[in-house]
């Protein structure tokens, strides 16, 4: 239906999620898609790096070698970033924020290596947003107690509560959509360049890769972690 209307069906443009194989799960057909494969590859890379880093730190020397230096640099950078925003709450959330930072960063960059970035699938970014949402509200109840949460809901006036609830629910949606749409737009742009300009796309798309994959990916990772930290710190702070 409508060939020629949509470029995706006529030209050789490909940026959708594809199914790799399907299996039956209690009568439902469940697909293993390219996103699963790419997430798996990113995870394997991270796990491999972790094993290497663990070995390097266990056999740490007084004068650090190259790899030990790199590991220390990464950890110090993450610690500084998290400590600068969260202050006294940073020791508790360092592991979580560091993990999602590295995962999102590698996912965004994986477009450089020919994978379809896993974060260009809403099924990956929505869980990240939901985790942030759960953390926010868990910590809100833990630090501000029920009284503080109710007081926060009825902030200016009691009848303002529905609007505050909508504002709370919008947080994970806007967080995940921002990451998803940014990475997806980069993926679509590059797919269009490679699909429509295939004859002249020789070396110059590298510039686009640097912008869309490296720059945009790093910025969005930073933004996601920054906003998560700000929201969590906000929830932890009891302000009378």
């Amino acid at each position: 239906m409508g060939q020629g209307v949509l470029l995706s069906e006529s030209a050789d443009i490909d940026f959708m999620v594809h199914g790799v194989f399907s299996y039956s799960f209690f009568g439902h057909t469940v697909w293993i898609t390219t996103t699963h494969v790419c997430v798996l590859i990113v995870m394997l890379v991270i796990i491999g790096f972790c094993f290497a880093a663990n070995r390097a730190v266990k056999h740490a020397s007084e004068v650090p070698g190259t790899f030990q230096n790199i590991v220390e640099l990464i950890i110090e950078m993450l610690d500084n970033m998290i400590g600068g925003v969260m202050g006294k709450f940073s020791p508790k959330f360092r592991n979580y924020i560091g993990t999602i930072f590295i995962f999102i960063l590698l996912s965004n960059i994986s477009g450089l290596f020919g994978l379809r970035p896993p974060t260009a699938d809403y099924g990956v970014t929505l869980p990240l947003g939901i985790m942030t949402f759960v953390l926010i509200h868990f910590n809100k109840f833990r630090y501000q107690k029920v009284k503080g949460v109710v007081a926060g809901l009825c902030d200016p006036w009691p009848f303002w509560a529905p609007i505050n609830i909508i504002g709370d629910v919008a947080v994970p949606i806007s967080l995940s959509l921002r990451l998803f749409a940014n990475v997806l737009s980069g993926t679509v742009m590059l797919a269009l360049v490679y699909g429509l300009l295939a004859k002249i796309a020789i070396i110059w798309p590298a510039v686009l890769h640097v912008y869309f994959d490296l720059f945009s990916g790093a910025i969005q990772t930073y933004v996601f972690c920054m906003l998560t930290m700000t929201y969590i710190t906000d929830a932890c702070t009891t302000d009378g």
Partner: protein, 83 residues
């Protein structure tokens, strides 16, 4: 039936084009942020790195509304919810 489907697809394409007009807003907003950041660096060159990181964070957040427009366009073109 044939006419209807094609008509809806054409209207979807027009709608997608209209939806990405949302890109005007973030463009203006990011430009204003960058202008003010440039002014701030001119006034206080020592704070360049702080100003730059704050500017990038704010711009990335301001970009969101434009991306929503893009998302609607993508949905209309590739998911075809109306057909």
């Amino acid at each position: 039936m044939e006419f209807n489907t094609n008509f809806i697809l054409g209207c979807s394409a027009i709608g997608a084009g209209l939806a990405v007009i949302a890109g005007i807003g973030p463009g203006v907003g990011q430009g204003i942020a960058a202008g003010h950041a440039a002014a701030a660096v001119g006034r206080n060159p020592g704070a360049k790195s702080d100003v730059t990181s704050t500017m990038l964070l704010g711009q990335a957040v301001a970009e969101t509304t434009g991306l929503y427009g893009l998302l609607i366009a993508m949905l209309l073109l590739f998911v075809k919810p109306l057909v």
